[in-house]
Every structure is written in structure tokens, then in C-alpha cells.
């Protein structure tokens, strides 16, 4: 009797398994054909940081070159924040902002400490390069490039 019970139990479990695979067979595939299709990036995605444009003057960033981000960075990834005081403006304008993305861990302390909210995470999810130096980003240049493409 035990044999019969085993056979019936086994047969039922086999049918259940086949049910699982046939369900997967007829349900739509979940593969995204990556280079041709891309998923939309979550708005909370943390790419490298980027400079945010000023609302009143979109050609300028909000950065006032206070250096808070540079001082607070736990991995010393923000190498150089340089700026100059232009005629007739109250604040300094950033001219160079070097981010060493190879050591950045996207912790977001720079974004949080910025007093004027000049930093934000970009949605650049697939940076690639041949050399380490390819990941020393100049965020000012990146901002200008982004501005031009808009």
C-alpha cells in the first residue's frame, strides 16, 4: 500500500511541477533586450553627483564654492572646488569641481550638507572608461555639456 501511496504522491508532485513550468512558458518574458531597450531609472537612483542649475539663471549653477562638500566627504573623493568672484554678483561662481568617482561610494553626505542644495544625484547608471582618470569628473564641464544638450 505504501508503494501505491508513493506513486500517487509522486505523480501528483510531478504534475504540479509541470504546471509551474507551463505557466512560466505561457506568461510573458521578463528579459529586457538591454542595448536596444532600457528600463526607466528610479528617481532615487544614486549615480555620480551633478551640479544643479539656478532657477533664476539656468546657465549658472547654484554652487557658491563654500567647500562644505569637500570637507565633509568621508572618502576624500571631492578633489578640488575652485571658483571666482565675478563683477556685480553676490556669490562666487564655480569654475572647477573635480569628483574622483573611483573612490566615491555615493553616500550622499555632500548632497545633504550642501547649504544651497547645489548637488544632486544623476541617473547616469552605466559609466565606462579605459583608464582610472576617465572617472575624475569635472562636474562644471559636465554641467555645461548637459546645459548645451538641453
Amino acid at each position: 500500500m505504501k508503494v501505491v501511496r508513493d506513486i500517487v504522491k509522486g505523480a501528483v508532485s510531478l504534475l504540479v511541477g509541470m504546471g509551474v513550468t507551463i505557466k512560466a512558458f505561457v506568461s510573458p518574458t521578463v528579459t529586457v533586450q538591454y542595448p536596444r531597450q532600457t528600463l526607466s531609472i528610479s528617481p532615487k537612483f544614486r549615480g555620480h553627483t551633478k551640479l544643479v542649475a539656478d532657477e533664476k539663471n539656468p546657465d549658472k549653477t547654484r554652487c557658491i564654492v563654500c567647500g562644505m562638500c569637500e570637507r565633509n566627504c568621508p572618502s576624500h573623493s571631492i578633489k578640488k572646488v575652485e571658483g571666482e568672484k565675478k563683477e556685480g554678483e553676490k556669490t562666487k561662481t564655480v569654475t572647477e569641481y573635480i569628483l574622483n568617482f573611483t573612490t566615491c561610494s555615493q553616500c550622499g553626505i555632500c548632497v545633504e550638507t550642501c547649504p544651497v542644495d547645489a548637488l544632486a544625484f544623476s541617473s547616469d547608471y552605466n559609466p565606462a572608461g579605459y583608464r582610472r582618470e576617465d572617472f575624475y569628473y569635472d562636474l562644471v564641464k559636465e554641467f555645461e555639456k548637459r546645459r548645451k544638450s538641453e
Binding site: V3, I7, G17, T21, T29
Partner: protein, 326 residues
């Protein structure tokens, strides 16, 4: 046209029939293998909710041709220390019985190379030769994985040959003939699968085991034995093993169709379409098995055959014989 009849008269109708049959069989074998390599990957993909091959041609349909050209272009590598005659003989030997089996399969009422009155015995006799070539391949390869795979294959095939024969015997009792065509004609009323559901199940399980398909793929268990008996084969020799495997799947499904599902009989559509629809339905089930079930352990494999399938098929045969006698 006159010329053609002259030629037929000269060489004899039988010879022409044999040659035409051979060409037809070769076409079926090659097209089937091409279709199945594609279908297997496509089914595998969709069962894992992937897409499967899609780059070469529409829906990846040209993929098998690309694979074939790759295999043809590869070097025929012969490892050191192999038993050369055996090593080279095995891939050819595995392919011949496969071709012979096609002679007696009735694709349609008129479409059969030769209706032998002992048809099913021809298929069974020749298909049991394939285990011999697997043994030769494993023995000649001078490789422990190949040898283990081959030895497993022998034990497995001996164990599953018996329930396979016994389950078919029950149908032969009912049809009162060994000829495949007579068996199909005997199913004009109701298919034998409804009279013999247990025999059908036993035959299908044993058939899957005979073709070394998952869950009974111990001879080529890739997670334990690299590739089993064909580990040392490359290029076209490897392709021949694969051609034989896919053709064996087709043959098992074709026999199941002929014996249990009414063969070429069916309403409206021509017989040959019914035959292929039924056969490829069963082929799909075999592919479905592969992507559902894990491999059985070796003791489970043999216990299942000797302790369950063989007694069950004997009981089935006795009951069938008893009922027919009354």
C-alpha cells in the same frame, strides 16, 4: 515521363521505392533535428521566462544553421590514447539504426517506405542497437567520464527496454498485428490510449529513459560527468550524436502516436498533418519534462524500472490478455 517508367521498370519498383524512401527519411531526419535544436532552446527560454535565440534570423530560426556551420568548420580533434577504430565507429553506428527505424513508420495511409508485417520488431531491434554504440563510444574514448556514462547507459537501457516492450505488447494483443499500419487501422474507432492508459504512461516514461532525456539523462549527466559518453567528441562527430538523440526523440514520439494516439487518422486535415501534430505534441512534452524535472539518482532510476514499471506492465499485460480472452 516514358523515360521515368523505363527506368523504374529497369531497376525494379522496390529499388526506386527504397531510394525515394531513403531521401525522404534523410530530409525528415535533418529537418527534425534542425527544428528540435531550435525548439529546445526556445522552449527552455520561455520556461525560464527568457526569450531564447532571437539574433540569427526571425525568431532565431536560422540559429541551427549557424550552429551546423560552426560544427562543420571545427577541427575533428582525436585525443591521445583513444581506441581509434571504436572511437570513429561509434558516431556512425549510432546513426544507422535511427535511419532504419523510419522505414516502417506510417506517416500517412499511403506514405510509408515499407509496410513490414513485423514492423514494430524492426524498430525495437534497431533502436536497442543505439545502446551498443554508446558503449563503444564510452569504451573507445579512454576517458573515465565517458566510460561511466556508457556503463550507466547500458544498465539504464536494459532496465527500461523491458517495460517498453511489454507496454507495446498489450497494444499488439488488442490490434492482433505487429504491423504499424494495421495498428493504426485498428484505432479507427477509439484510440488505444483510452483502452490502455497505463501502457501509454509506461511506454512514454520508458521511451524518455531510452532516449537518455532528462530526468533520465544519467549517461550524459552534465553536472557529474562533463558530457558523459560524448565528452571526447568534437565537431561533426559530436553533431552526429546530437542528430541521433533528436531523431530518437522523434521516433519515440512517432511510435507513441502510432500505437496510442491513432497515428495518421483524424478528421478533415490530411493524415500526414495529423501525424506530425500528434508527434510534435509529444515531442513538446518531452522537452517540457527536461525543463521541469531534476535528474533522478541512479538507484532511484533502476528501482523505478525493476520494482514499479516492470511489475505494472506485467499486470497490465495479464489483465489485457484476460479481458481479450473473455
Amino acid at each position: 515521363m516514358e523515360r521515368l517508367t523505363d527506368i523504374i521498370a529497369l531497376v525494379g519498383e522496390e529499388t526506386v521505392r527504397a531510394i525515394a524512401g531513403l531521401i525522404g527519411v534523410l530530409i525528415v531526419v535533418v529537418v527534425n533535428a534542425i527544428l528540435l535544436t531550435w525548439a529546445e532552446r526556445k522552449v527552455a527560454g520561455h520556461m525560464q521566462r527568457r526569450i531564447g535565440p532571437k539574433e540569427v534570423g526571425p525568431y532565431g530560426l536560422i540559429q541551427p544553421f549557424a550552429d551546423t556551420f560552426k560544427l562543420l568548420a571545427k577541427e575533428l580533434l582525436v585525443p591521445k590514447d583513444v581506441a581509434k577504430p571504436l572511437y570513429h565507429l561509434a558516431p556512425i553506428l549510432i546513426f544507422i539504426p535511427v535511419l532504419v527505424s523510419f522505414i516502417v513508420i506510417p506517416f500517412d495511409a499511403q506514405l510509408q517506405v515499407k509496410d513490414i508485417n513485423m514492423g514494430i520488431l524492426v524498430i525495437l531491434a534497431f533502436s536497442s542497437l543505439s545502446v551498443f554504440s554508446i558503449l563503444i563510444a564510452g569504451w573507445g574514448s579512454h576517458n573515465k567520464y565517458s566510460l561511466i556514462g556508457a556503463v550507466r547507459s547500458v544498465a539504464q537501457n536494459i532496465a527500461y527496454e523491458i517495460p517498453l516492450l511489454l507496454s507495446l505488447l498489450a497494444v499488439i494483443f488488442m490490434a492482433n498485428s505487429f504491423s504499424l499500419k494495421d495498428i493504426v487501422e485498428a484505432q479507427k474507432g477509439l484510440w488505444f490510449v483510452f483502452y490502455q492508459p497505463i501502457a501509454f504512461l509506461i511506454f512514454f516514461v520508458a521511451g524518455v529513459a531510452e532516449t537518455n532525456r532528462t530526468p533520465f539523462d544519467l549517461p550524459e549527466a552534465e553536472s557529474e560527468l562533463v558530457a558523459g559518453f560524448h565528452t571526447e567528441y568534437s565537431s561533426m562527430q559530436f553533431a552526429l550524436f546530437f542528430l541521433a538523440e533528436y531523431t530518437n526523440i522523434f521516433i519515440v514520439s512517432a511510435i507513441a502516436t502510432t500505437f496510442f494516439l491513432g497515428g495518421y487518422s483524424g478528421p478533415v486535415l490530411p493524415g500526414i498533418i495529423w501525424f506530425f501534430v500528434k508527434t510534435y505534441g509529444l515531442v513538446f512534452v518531452i522537452l517540457w519534462f527536461r525543463w521541469t524535472f531534476p535528474r533522478v539518482r541512479f538507484d532511484q532510476l533502476l528501482n523505478f524500472s525493476w520494482k514499479i514499471l516492470i511489475p505494472l506492465s506485467f499486470i497490465n499485460l495479464l489483465v489485457t490478455g484476460g479481458i481479450l480472452k473473455i
